[in-house]
């Protein structure tokens, strides 16, 4: 390709890159604004962030009309799939901004750089969702990781926070190294880093399957780290526990969902062939990666759930539960069908509501009673009925019980598995048995809140819950129930978003 063509393509691409450009502009604006507003701990930073997010939101929705195309010389893709994820990330960011405003935990620190970092993190997530080149994938993942390290350690004075950040950074560096090594092997095998070309080369000729297997496993280390799947999950409980809770909530959804975007795109484009008639991908014949992912999924949810049983700290318990949920969401990847991808997307949206909701209730109680221990949650239902009932809704949804959104999410995942045939029945049984285990530990929180008496020495006075909290709870809780009763609109959105370049 001539240089002028490359430049022309880059310039033409700018129009498709508008949300990311706006986000970059917003970050720059916030850095300057922070300098000017430094003295006062004003709410202006969050307001700027929110308004900026709103503008970006319009730019993203506008992308639906521009149509799908590959931009910057096949470095990034703008398609329904990436738009879906960008919407999800932006929704996460907006909600986390609201949570952060309310959080007492963060009140001692300057919020300027906090919100700025959050927006950079969002930019990284956007790039992860659309990256179609191993280098952009790597850069996007690194951008997300490095900003995450900074945000996790944001409470400098809290020991656990710093410790969490350090662990996170070490694990991150390690898994990035592994992933880079895997990418280099893949480059050696195929002579290209563009995932479409990798797919073509691998489909076209027989490559050494052992080398391919090693490279895929190494790359999976990088991806697995992002979604916290076994055996790359070790960082997550410590990080989730140590980080400021709004950041924990963010990490449990944003980077995780982005990890799924990358995994689905990479595996389905580079390592499978699409059969348009059956709406089904076929894994490359010389590497049975669906089985590898199936085993990872089973191990992830089982380990996450079993370890969660033993936790006494609600935040840590939710950390393990979110490991388990990554395992569930992987079920949709295993089956290699549009239905599977669709189920995963649906699940991520549902997970957004219920998981953010559960973390938000933890934030509320942490602010009021100053503890995250299950034992200190005793009798809270009588002292603060609204957050307690909301917690009930979120936890039942996380368990996957009707009539909540969580059930529908799981239903689609298991439907995709069963549809894929008897070879995955075992995985369905493992997955469903896991929800029984999950019920057991979620119910421990409910038991403490609803069944147990208030501990001695704790005043039974009702707790004041501000209307701001109640509104946010409603924003998260009402969809959690509504989607469980009528989910056709969300189902349409998800089935629309299965389309990614260049297969359709």
């Amino acid at each position: 390709m001539a240089l002028s063509d490359i430049i022309r393509d880059n310039i033409n691409s700018l129009n498709y890159f508008l949300p990311e450009l706006l986000l970059t502009g917003l970050v720059l604006l916030m850095i300057i604004a922070d300098l000017l507003l430094k003295k006062e701990r004003s709410p202006w930073m969050s307001i700027i962030a929110l308004i900026g997010s709103g503008v970006v939101l319009f730019a993203i929705i506008n992308q639906y009309e521009l149509g799908s195309r590959s931009i910057f010389n096949n470095m990034l893709a703008v398609d329904e799939f990436s738009i879906f994820f960008k919407l999800l990330f932006l929704a996460t960011t907006i909600l986390v901004i609201f949570l952060s405003i309310a959080s007492v935990e963060l009140s001692g620190r300057s919020v300027g750089e906090y919100f700025t970092l959050l927006m950079i993190l969002t930019l990284g997530l956007f790039l992860m969702a659309s990256a179609t080149h191993m280098i952009t994938i790597f850069i996007a993942i690194e951008l997300v990781s490095i900003i995450s390290f900074a945000l996790v350690t944001y409470l400098k004075t809290r020991r656990r926070s710093s410790e969490a950040g350090l662990k996170y950074a070490i694990y991150g560096a390690f898994s990035s190294g592994l992933m880079l090594y895997g990418i280099s092997i893949l480059y050696g095998l195929t002579g290209t880093l563009n995932i479409y070309e990798i797919g073509e080369v691998l489909a076209g000729r027989d490559t050494n399957s052992l080398a391919l297997l090693i490279s895929v496993l190494l790359i999976m280390a990088g991806f697995g780290y992002k979604i916290a799947s076994v055996p790359f999950h070790f960082w997550s409980p410590d990080v989730y526990e140590g980080a400021p809770t709004p950041i924990t909530a963010f990490l449990s959804i944003g980077p995780k969902a982005a990890g799924f975007a990358v995994i689905i795109r990479f595996f389905n484009v580079a390592l499978s062939n699409y059969d348009g008639v059956a709406e089904q991908w076929l894994a490359l014949s010389n590497i049975n990666w669906p089985q590898i992912i199936a085993v990872i999924a089973a191990a992830t949810m089982t380990l996450g759930n079993l370890v969660a049983i033993a936790q006494d700290n609600v935040k840590r318990l939710l950390a393990y539960s979110s490991i388990a949920h990554a395992g569930y969401a992987l079920l949709g990847v295993v089956v290699l069908s549009s239905q599977g991808v669709y189920a995963t997307l649906f699940y991520l949206v549902v997970y957004y509501f219920m998981n953010l909701g559960a973390f938000f209730v933890v934030i509320i109680f942490q602010d009021i009673i100053g503890s995250e221990k299950i034992d200190d949650f005793k009798g809270l239902a009588s002292r603060a009925p609204i957050p307690a009932i909301a917690m009930g809704v979120f936890l039942f949804s996380l368990t996957g019980l009707p009539p909540t959104a969580g059930f529908i999410g799981k239903f689609y995942l298991f439907a995709a598995l069963i549809k894929a045939g008897p070879e995955f029945y075992w995985l369905a049984i493992v997955g469903l048995l896991n929800s029984v285990v999950a019920l057991y530990y979620y119910a421990r929180i409910l038991k403490a809140m609803f069944f147990d008496k208030i501990s001695e020495g704790v005043s039974p006075e009702p707790l004041k819950i501000s209307p701001y909290y109640v509104t946010l709870l409603a924003v998260l809780g009402i969809p959690t129930i509504l989607v469980g009763l009528y989910w056709a609109p969300l189902a349409n959105l998800a089935s629309h978003s299965v389309h990614f370049l260049p297969t359709f």
């Binding site: 009707p402 549809k419 009528y486």
Partner: protein, 525 residues
Amino acid sequence: MSNVLSWITFLPIIGALLIMFVPKSNKSLVKIIAALFTGLQLVLAIWIYMNFDQSTSQIQFREQYHWIPSFNIEYFMGIDGLSVPMVLLTAFLSFICIFASWKIDKSVKGYFAMFLLLDTGMMGVFCSLDFFLFYIFWEVMLLPMYFLIGIWGSPSRVEANGAVRGGPYAAIKFFLYTLFGSIFMLIAMLVLYFNVQDPVTGGHTFNMLHLMDQANHSGVLLNFDLRLWLYAALFLGFAIKVPVFPFHTWLPDAHVEAPTAVSVILAGVLLKMGTYGLLRISFPILPDAMRWHYFAYGLAILGLINILYGAFCAMAQKDLKKLVAYSSISHMGIVLLGMSGLTAMGMNGAVMQMFNHGTGTAMLFLLVGVIYDRAHHRQIDGFGGLAVRMPIYAAVVAIAFFAGLGLPGFSSFISEAFSFLGAFGSEMFDLRLITIISTFGIIITAAYFLWTFQRMFLGELNPKYAELPEINGRELFTLIPVAVLVVLLGVYPAPLLNLMQSSLNELVEVVKTAGPSSSTLLGLF
């Protein structure tokens, strides 16, 4: 009255929502709303009874709408002779139980809202004909039940051996057991869905009537016909609910720790869902598996075990409520035995037994509640000579006990006789020996009921209870309607029998004749 089934199902929820807006201090208004809405539900149930065409086995009061078109999930409600008795039972017991809960004092709003939500779940299970919808209702019931047992049941206590027991323990045990069962049901449901095609649209469907089309079912899994696996998975889900031995261990805990009204609902309605599920889903959708002799004999033998084991356990109990709980296990065994022979008589007996056990055990639990409210314990040996002090109470207990042991003239005599005779006379399977052994259960049942009556009511009056007040008007108001039904249906069972007969006879025919013959199934071996 179109949409009567939607109304009867969702009326309680409307009541529950109204209750949310009642100020906390106004406890009596909450109770009145609950009574009003369950009362309306009962009126609708009676209306359905009057307008139900007993001569046909067709689905009636049908409502069918698209719900989630992309997955072909329908809102499909309808009832036939199998569901109507259960609808009546649910409405009747729910209404009675509101009054049995009148003395609830702890977070009244929450209790009645949960109770009404439970009511909707139960009614929905019996009215839905779309498997997905059925499953939703089935699961929706778990949440209120969990809270009802956990919050309003007996408080946590530490037993002598260090184990923690009480309401919260029983609640989570019930929840985990049932959820464990229903995940297998979910898998079976999905496998059925992907096997079956809607004859009109060609898409997959959860419609139970389409699921019955045997042409859809094929496939082999691990050397066994897929239908056998499906039957086994569904059976596991339903068996835990019944509960069939050895899945019964949640029952004594849940029944004993729950508040009186919730025990009544648990034993009176929830247990029936297991057998209802077998008859509504397993039998007609997978008749070949049911006819497979291993499963048929297995069902009969499990029935036998339930009958004898439940009866022996009941005899060994010191706690009156536990005794009643184990008697439920024993009586539900008769239902299993009755249906296993695939005869019209046995099937009618089984469904009648479901209804009659519902009323009979409701009386027993209500009566346990009466004495517990007064004496604050339930130890059978802790009483004595109560008949002197509480003659009316003793008389009602006598009716309930006689009904429980199946004395002629009481409703359960007829249903038990039908069940045993039906199983004995089975043409497809030789269940004679199993039936004969099972009938010993009746003798044991008579023994423990009479022995209990003797210990509690006859002999010297325990001086501790010389001042025990007689049963009061509210309690009699909850008991007398049930007692009337128990005696009436014992003397003249036709109203109940006619209601179900045509549907159940049809069901037996369907199971006996539908689909490829058994030999194709057995050809695998």
